[in-house]
């Protein structure tokens, strides 16, 4: 009439949890990594994608006044370069504004940095348009354009990929690599900076590369 059954029955509850808890925790841990796996590659991955030594080189383009410029047009200065296009509704203004604000915030050090905007849409981005566009962000930001071939050559040297995307009714957007390059005065790559970095982070990366 005693009920010895009850003791083992009570024990089964906790022991089941002892087995299940690690399993559940492991599953939760694995699930929690999904956002990291799914997000864009970080700079380490980008560095692997780009061979650091292979990025950069000579370019022959024109500035907003249609004057020829090359990568040697700012001797002794660092160059902060972003490839984009003036019809870009979202990513380019963010990057160019951060570049301009970062350089402005750096005081005397900033004076040794020449920010450059190079269009990947020369068909629409005439010298006059890149000039007006660049001036919106900063008087020091220089906009560059050129022939299709000249732009393709410059983009190629900087490992910038770009492609027209038809948006219907005759208009188009440009898909393009969105990354900020800091080039050393000797023409070597100094740093690759995420184009989405806010101005203080960008200034910090520039300063660190200069050290």
């Amino acid at each position: 009439m005693t009920q010895p059954v009850s003791a083992p029955a009570r024990r089964r509850g906790p022991s089941l949890w002892l087995v299940l808890a690690p399993v559940i925790l492991t599953v939760l841990l694995l699930l929690s990594t999904i956002p990291y796996i799914m997000t864009t590659p970080d700079m380490a991955d980008m560095a692997a994608m780009h061979d650091m030594r292979a990025v950069g080189g000579s370019f022959r383009l024109v500035d907003g006044n249609n004057r020829p410029v090359t990568d040697r047009s700012w001797p002794g200065r660092w160059q902060l370069i972003y490839f984009g296009y003036t019809h870009c509704p979202a990513s380019c203004p963010t990057a160019l504004n951060s570049m301009a604000e970062a350089v402005d915030s750096m005081g005397a050090e900033g004076k040794t940095v020449q920010p450059l905007f190079i269009t990947v849409d020369p068909a629409r981005d005439t010298p006059a348009i890149v000039k007006e566009y660049a001036a919106q962000f900063s008087p020091t930001l220089v906009g560059l354009t050129g022939s299709d071939a000249a732009v393709a050559e410059a983009a190629g040297r900087y490992k910038i990929h770009y492609r027209k995307r038809d948006t219907g009714s005759g208009s188009y957007a440009m898909d393009h690599s969105s990354i900020v390059y800091l080039m050393r005065p000797d023409g070597r790559l100094g740093a690759m900076i995420p184009a989405t970095d806010p101005p203080p982070a960008m200034a910090k990366e520039i300063r660190e590369a200069m050290r």
Partner: protein, 165 residues
């Protein structure tokens, strides 16, 4: 009555001071924090937040008298390449909040009749399947602004910080 009337200009002023915030419609979609960036070309972006306080809805289309074409796009990074993906419509689940921002989903204005000038504003009509047409006034901020000048509007979540990607 006289008292009520004397408050009218104040009320009007308060309403005018919050141009980007549209009251929830009958079916409960609130549009808040709308803004655009100044442009030099005929293409621009509009950023805002939708909050569905009612049943599920769907943003079907948008239009504005200042541009020939308005479309929804998502900006997706593939490797280091920023890709523009056209979005057809934007479904809204009940209780869902969706942000349109410079680093992701955004509203693209094409064939602007003239470039967007900082300090001006324009109307944008959003067409929802359930809520119908909702008109918001969109202030134009600086070319490199990352949010509306007045800051995130109250009552709804702020737009995502830039650099989230």
């Amino acid at each position: 009555v006289r008292h009520a009337l004397s408050f009218a200009p104040l009320l009007a002023g308060l309403l005018a001071a919050t141009p980007a915030v549209a009251a929830p419609t009958a079916t409960g979609v609130a549009v808040s924090g709308a803004w655009a960036r100044a442009t030099v070309t005929d293409t621009g972006g509009v950023f805002l937040t939708l909050s569905d306080h009612g049943p599920a809805d769907e943003l079907l289309s948008a239009d504005t008298p200042i541009a020939a074409k308005v479309s929804f796009h998502d900006m997706v990074m593939r490797g280091d390449v920023m890709e523009m993906r056209p979005l057809g419509t934007v479904p809204l689940a009940s209780g869902q909040m969706i942000s349109f921002s410079p680093d992701g989903r955004h509203i693209m204005l094409e064939s602007l009749r003239q470039p967007l000038r900082r300090g001006t504003s324009f109307p944008l009509v959003l067409h929802f399947r359930q809520a119908g047409a909702v008109t918001v006034t969109v202030p134009v901020e600086g070319p490199g602004a990352s949010g509306p000048a007045a800051g995130p509007s109250t009552g709804t979540a702020a737009g995502p910080a830039t650099g989230a990607r």
